[in-house]
């Protein structure tokens, strides 16, 4: 049913429909509305779940870890410092091969403290062994949660999924969203059946000490599984499309890319703005396009190569940095073409929208203006020169 609804509440609705038995979270802006709404649903008897109010994000992640290990579907959500505080557990959940969906309401990292949106938090945890999916709008965020549980709990995966949605822009934005029915969700997402669980009838040891004789194989196994996820994700989204009628590739989305001379690559809500600019410029006869990366982990390098191998100029937008090096998404886009015969003449890298700085249509047009034959690396857009004049003499 279509509802005009805030992003956080829409996510809470879909999480409820996925029937987690245990929910645990610690408050952090801009994640709070999601878990507040879920807590209300539990209080009102509309959601049969144990809601565990913990004393930290570290414990929130640990509680859901324990719940999944005991055989129950679980859910948590966080942002920014909260994600970093649970980072140790985030890696641990993947290492233990426990399926889970976590919402990251993307927010900048301190210092300076800043509650607004960029993607430094989840991007920094790209090496944790999770599947990371980035939503463009609230509808996609809702759908990725449902798709996320399906992928995560697939017997060939048994890995956690992080659904990343831009803080405030999507969490607090109000959109018309199609919330599926319980029957539809139940049909698409069967009850969680763990491969292994903590059960006195069949005692097993989970999380033993693994020495050099076997540790490397555990990491290889995750790497291989994430590689296989590149095949599973489009399969699941195709099935999703059959039930719900919305089409996602799950790995990337190509928007007017086919004949484009210039393509912008981006993740998250900024893709909506880029699409508007693309449409405006296309109306004026300019051949521009957007390649949206939905799956940042696993990184669909081959699919991106196929999509952009004939594009002359590519601009990559990053809402995060690897301070002291290149912008993270740009590095991987470039790597996708390394050593290939067919590749863009130019892949320029732009840093946009850190700490909630608005990315306007003008920002996107500025990126396109700077996308020339001269390749740019980590070019900051919308910097304020007047704030950079301080002298230390």
């Amino acid at each position: 049913m279509k509802e005009f609804i805030e992003g956080s509440f829409a996510v809470a609705e879909i999480v409820k429909l996925c029937k987690p038995g245990v929910i645990s979270a610690y408050p952090i802006t801009p994640q709070t509305h999601i878990v507040e709404e879920l807590a209300q649903m539990v209080s009102d008897g509309k959601l049969n779940a144990q809601f565990v109010n913990v004393e930290s994000e570290h414990s929130a992640a640990s509680v859901v870890l324990g719940a999944v290990a005991a055989g129950v579907r679980a859910y948590t959500a966080t942002s920014s410092q909260g994600l970093f505080y649970m980072a140790e557990v985030v890696f641990n959940i993947a290492g233990l091969r426990l399926p889970l969906v976590l919402t990251c309401a993307n927010r900048a990292i301190s210092a300076p403290i800043n509650i607004w949106n960029d993607q430094q938090d989840s991007v920094s945890l790209r090496d944790a062994g999770w599947i990371q999916l980035y939503a463009e709008d609230v509808q996609e965020a809702v759908d990725l949660h449902l798709i996320g549980y399906r992928i995560s709990e697939d017997k060939s995966m048994m890995l956690p999924v992080m659904v990343c949605m831009d803080g405030f822009i999507l969490t607090h934005g109000i959109e018309t969203v199609d919330i599926p029915t319980q029957e539809q969700v139940d049909k698409f997402l069967p009850a969680y059946r763990p491969l292994y669980k903590l059960d006195p009838q069949d005692p097993i040891t989970i999380g033993p000490l693994v020495d050099p004789d076997a540790y490397m194989e555990t990491r290889f196994a995750i790497q291989k599984t994430l590689d296989e996820a590149l095949g599973l994700i489009p399969k699941v989204t195709a099935e999703f499309s059959k039930v719900f009628g919305r089409n996602y590739n799950g790995l990337i989305e190509e928007y007017r890319v086919k004949d484009a001379e210039r393509v912008i690559v981006a993740m998250g809500s900024v893709c909506g703005t880029v699409k508007e600019v693309v449409d405006e410029l296309r109306a004026k006869g300019k051949k521009v396009g957007l390649l949206k990366v939905t799956s940042y982990r696993p990184f669909p390098a081959q699919v991106i190569y196929e999509a952009l191998k004939n594009t002359p100029k590519v601009a990559v937008l990053d809402r995060a940095l690897s301070l002291g090096s290149y912008a993270p998404l740009a590095v991987e886009i470039k790597a996708a073409f390394f050593g290939k015969k067919k590749k863009p003449e130019v892949i320029s890298s732009f840093v946009v929208g850190l700490g909630g700085r608005d990315i306007t249509k003008d920002s996107i047009k500025e990126v396109l203006r700077l996308l020339t034959a001269k390749e740019k690396s980590c070019e900051f857009i919308d910097l304020k020169p007047e704030l950079l004049k301080e002298s230390y003499e």
Binding site: A49, H58, G66, G207
Partner: protein, 302 residues
């Protein structure tokens, strides 16, 4: 043959107090128990892949989160309607409990989860080579509170963990010692019979870290209790229910058996300070047996 739920063949050191205590705890708990273990010696020596000493479902996640993982296990069992009849134990060493894991433990206690938390107190970070923890006793010579020309070892007394957990208003708090086996197992069984969060802190001598002969673990465990340095106490619903009464022995008897205190033996001032700690425990908990009471324990209800 007695079937244990914690098998032989693990790789603990000879005379390890923790391995014995862990076996006593799980045997007293029974097979319908799920164990959540912090990182530490016990996890390392009992689960080196592909072997495991555990005959019950057992999980290890990280150093400081056993209390939180156990909270999730308990919440899942509640959701499944299976909590009644299954004991959940969270356990770790003194560092994983009183230092890095204190926040998670406090959260678990405050939220009222039906879990028994067991702290195996060997009074330092033994898994990494005997570094000082919040439960290291006064003047102990550890690798990060070493003796030197300016130091007689650890300058602080033990963090009062039983009082800290008691302040959470939980229904059961006890200390135990691997030197008093029946008392330890009785306390574990009693804890499981009470709903809500329970805490038992077990004193477990560590031959390697304390530098004592491995055959003397039980004897040294007993001496800690009998000198008044490790009072065995039991609180139910906030009330002190029982203490193990003693005919107090001088603390030197306990100190002289261990390399970690060897430097004190010609330092009467330091020994006096340690004797003061014991005397203050004896007074506080009324540990001294009356001449007529030669039996070693006073139980309110037994």
């Amino acid at each position: 043959m007695n079937k244990h739920l914690f098998n032989v063949g693990h790789t603990a050191c000879a005379g390890c107090g923790q391995s014995l205590a862990a076996r006593l705890v799980i045997d007293a708990s029974g097979p319908n128990t799920i164990v959540v273990n912090n990182t530490g010696c016990l996890e390392v020596f009992s689960t080196k892949y592909p072997e495991s000493a555990w005959e019950v479902p057992w999980i290890h996640s990280l150093f400081e989160n056993a209390a939180a993982v156990a909270s999730g296990v308990e919440a899942a069992l509640k959701y499944l309607g299976k909590k009644d009849g299954i004991n959940v134990i969270a356990q770790g060493g003194d560092g994983g409990t009183a230092d890095i894991g204190l926040q998670a433990l406090s959260g678990m206690l405050e939220r009222g989860h039906d879990i028994l938390y067991v702290c195996y107190d060997n009074e330092a970070y033994m898994n990494t080579g005997a570094q000082r923890s919040g439960l290291t006793p006064f003047s102990s010579n550890t690798s990060t509170s070493p003796i030197g020309t300016q130091s007689i070892g650890n300058i602080r007394p033990k963090k009062p963990m039983p009082e800290i957990v008691l302040a959470h208003g939980i229904p059961y708090v006890a200390t135990a010692s691997v030197g008093f086996v029946q008392d330890l197992q009785r306390k574990v069984k009693k804890a499981h019979s009470i709903k809500g969060p329970k805490y038992i802190q077990i004193h477990v001598p560590c031959p390697l870290g304390w530098r004592h002969e491995s055959a003397r673990t039980i004897e040294i465990g007993k001496l800690a209790v009998e000198t008044g340095l490790y009072p065995l106490i039991e609180y139910e619903f906030g009330k002190l229910l029982a203490v193990r009464q003693i005919q107090p022995k001088p603390v030197e008897e306990y100190l002289k058996a261990q390399g970690r205190f060897k430097h004190l033996l010609n330092n009467p001032d330091a020994i006096k300070q340690i004797q003061d700690i014991a005397d203050s425990n004896i007074l506080k908990y009324n540990l001294k047996a009356q001449p007529s009471q030669t039996s070693s324990s006073r139980q309110a209800n037994e």
